[in-house]
């Protein structure tokens, strides 16, 4: 099993932090994040749009002092395509 599959496997097992995935697999954090991007392009993980998106649809947009909250963090969630794989094989 290669690095791409091992990263996906750890994310599916509940690992949230790329730095910890990197530590477990002996790679750099940047490499793990690169692999997450590749997995995204293949449809195995998808980016969750949060933050300002909620504000844009908010009815208080025009008067709310907390509006326009910007990027806090980019979150990728595992897609249904990933769940179609058998976990024990990854």
């Amino acid at each position: 099993m290669g690095k791409i599959e091992r990263v996906l496997s750890l994310i599916r097992e509940g690992e949230r932090n790329p730095a910890e995935i990197a530590g477990k697999l002996g790679m750099s954090r940047e490499e793990v994040e690169g692999i997450i991007k590749i997995l995204e392009s293949m449809g195995y993980v998808e980016r969750i749009e949060k933050g300002s998106g909620a504000c844009e649809t908010c009815p208080l947009r025009s008067i709310c002092p907390g509006s326009c909250v910007r990027k806090t963090a980019t979150v990728y969630r595992v897609t249904k395509k990933s769940f179609s794989l058998k976990q024990d094989h990854i």
Partner: protein, 666 residues
């Protein structure tokens, strides 16, 4: 002579646009790719008297048919036959960049030049790349670049010119897979031979894409091979997939990645430890399960120290200005009622709130700095672990962080949680997170009663609110059935110095909404509160509506050491939390602004009572807009339950702090 076409391909954020600009200068045209809303940029440059049309392809990480960007880039490379393909790669992140290079070369594209950008950064990070070896390994020309500084651009133009005119011969490498897969590729290539497809596309690429069950390629092959033959090929693929027990696209991507990995050590070496860049060094502390929390408390403490140290003097000045204005205006108004409304009601109420603008601006400024530096992503990672332990879904961390700005969009952000139970629990605890409106009240009380320790008091109230939120999540998660949480991962961006101009503009954009709110909700609320406080009789007579209302709750408030004034303030605070200050201002009749209000309140409240008021204001009930948002995102029952729960918790904690304080003789 027709212009030669040069396609720029590469990952996002590798400096492709910088290379494009460096090549074409100002001669650019921006439009859309046909049929899609993906931006298409074209530009022209001249070299040795020959003109070249440069087409900037969308940035992609691979060339699957999964997204529109990938499809646009892939179709251009396959069908438009550019004379030269410049693959721009980031020299500091070669693994993922060369993955795309392999995808391009696998397509059978031979006229590729690799533009090795950000060489200066690679040098700084101790990454040494043997360009000659890389060139030999890949079988294509490699040009080292620092496009930002324009270094290497002329060399790139020269290579493009030579390749476009057939002066460079390439022998591109293609990724090799395990024998089973290679056998299958050969088998499919055999099945495709003789069809018109192989004259246009690389048979190996078609075979690999069929193995990966690429929809577009399957449609293409179906047209040329017919259903029966395609089914036969796909059955064969199904058999090999069954043998591996995993999806073939993942296996192929994995092996392609390993292939790149096997090349890396042959042309790259690190003069400093590969992973020891500044981001990783900082993360060892900032996302550490123990040190990370100390760092978080320190960051928040420093944030409040800064906000109060810089903001309070400006706020004092602003409050004095409102006070002077009220003092100047009063003698000019003959009517007592109108004078009371304008000076005590509007200037007193709205002015008291508006004077907090500098604090709100500074808070948003510091939060924007933390966001842009990349620290908030670390806070999300840090909090996520704790929240899971307390029964909150990890993904709710982003929604809760939004709550520091305003609870309404934070409640609405729970929509992105798939599970109903997760949504309910997250929106249940969200109003406990102190929004920026509550900052006005906290900073007012901290400034008035705890001089010198404002930051510590503010941090303690914030910390208490977070603890209450976590405890509530733990409690409620025992009663609401939890669904399966889909796994996710939080990206940790590199720490970056923020752009100060953008930060200032953004902080202004966010905080000017505070002024708008003061001019709308707070203004109307102040007029209303002033009316209730002065009719049918003036406040202090015991006959005004406000006093009568306050006295109903006075015995209950007495349990936590507060009086009827606090009851009235908290009641109006439900409309908007800032009203807690404006109500006090109107009740005390201090049209003289916030400084006069501090003086008036200091004589009637002890620091312990002020602390209890701060805590209760933070915890007691979400504002009406947040209740509305909870109702809209769930139902009335849940909104009512949340509200009742918050009142109960706030009262219990208020009573507890008051009595502990009395016991300790505070």
């Amino acid at each position: 002579m027709a212009m030669k076409v040069v396609a720029l391909a590469g990952n996002p954020n590798v400096g492709k646009t910088t290379v494009f600009n460096a090549l074409t200068g100002m001669r650019q045209h921006v439009g859309n790719w046909p049929g899609v809303t993906v931006e298409k940029k074209e530009g022209v440059f001249e070299y040795e008297g020959q003109r070249f049309l440069v087409v900037d392809l969308p940035g992609t990480y691979s060339l699957t048919a999964h997204s529109v960007d990938e499809l646009v880039a892939r179709n251009f490379l396959l069908n438009s036959g550019p004379d030269v393909v410049v693959n721009v790669v980031d020299a500091t992140a070669l693994m993922r960049n060369l993955f795309l290079t392999m995808e391009i070369l696998e397509m059978g594209v031979t006229n590729v030049v690799l533009a090795l950008n950000k060489m200066d950064l690679a040098e700084k990070r101790g990454i040494r790349i043997d360009v000659k070896k890389l060139e030999t390994l890949l079988g294509i020309p490699v040009v080292p670049l620092n496009a930002k500084a324009g270094i290497g651009v002329n060399d790139l133009k020269k290579r493009i010119y030579e390749m476009a005119n057939g002066r460079i011969k390439t022998t591109p490498i293609v990724p090799k897979y395990e024998p089973d897969i290679e056998r299958e590729i050969t088998h499919i290539e055999g099945a495709l031979s003789g069809t018109g497809l192989v004259t246009k596309y690389s048979p190996r690429w078609l075979a690999v894409k069929l193995l990966q069950r690429d929809d577009e390629v399957m449609k293409l092959v179906l047209r040329h091979l017919g259903k029966e033959k395609l089914d036969e090929v796909m059955t064969h693929i199904g058999e090999i997939e069954a043998k591996y027990g995993r999806a073939m696209d993942l296996i192929i991507a994995g092996q392609k990645y390993e292939f790149v990995d096997s090349l890396m050590h042959r042309f790259i070496r690190y003069t400093s430890k590969e992973s020891s860049n500044l981001t990783d060094q900082l993360d060892r502390i900032l996302v550490h399960p123990v040190y990370g929390f100390f760092a978080l408390m320190l960051v928040f403490y420093a944030m409040f120290r800064f906000v109060f140290a810089v903001g309070l003097p400006i706020q004092g000045w602003l409050a004095a200005e409102f006070s002077d204005f009220g003092g100047w205006l009063a003698p000019h108004i003959a009517s007592g009622a109108l004078r009371g409304l304008l000076v005590d009601g509007i200037i007193g109420g709205v002015g008291a709130v508006l004077s907090f603008f500098p604090l709100v601006f500074l808070l948003f400024f510091v939060l924007a700095v933390l966001e842009d530096v990349g620290y908030m992503a670390r806070v999300a990672v840090l909090m996520e672990k704790i929240m899971r332990k307390f029964g909150l879904p990890g993904k709710s961390v982003i929604s809760l962080i939004l709550g520091f700005g305003c609870n309404v969009p934070a409640v609405m952000a729970t929509r992105t949680l798939e599970d109903e139970r997760d949504r309910l629990v997250t929106m249940f605890v969200n109003p406990f997170i102190p929004c920026s409106a509550r900052l006005s009240v906290i900073s007012f009380l901290a400034g008035a009663f705890f001089k010198g320790n404002q930051a510590l008091v503010a941090v303690s109230i914030y910390a208490l609110a977070i603890v209450v939120a976590l405890f509530s999540a733990w409690l409620i998660s025992h009663f609401v059935i939890r669904g399966e949480e889909s796994p996710f991962v939080i990206e940790l961006p590199e720490y970056l110095l923020p752009g100060w101009k953008t930060l200032l503009l953004h902080s202004w954009e966010r905080s000017k909404e505070f002024v708008k709110k003061a001019g709308t909700i707070i203004l109307i609320g102040s007029i209303f509160i002033w009316y209730l406080s002065n009719y049918p009789a003036a406040i202090g007579t015991g006959k005004s509506y406000a006093e009568r209302l306050g006295h109903i709750f006075a015995p209950y408030m007495g349990l936590m050491g507060l009086d009827w004034r606090a009851a009235v303030s908290l009641l109006f605070g439900i409309i908007a939390k800032e009203n807690v200050i404006s109500t006090y201002s109107i009740i005390y009749g201090v049209g003289g602004g916030e400084e006069a209000l501090r003086g008036a309140m200091a004589g009637l409240l002890s620091p312990l009572q002020a602390y209890v008021l701060g805590v209760v204001t933070t915890l007691y009930i979400p504002c009406i807009a947040t209740i509305g948002a909870i109702r809209a995102e769930s139902n009335w029952k849940w909104a009512a339950f949340s509200t009742a729960y918050m009142i109960t918790v706030a009262s219990a904690i208020g009573i507890l702090i008051w009595h502990i304080g009395l016991f300790l003789g505070l």
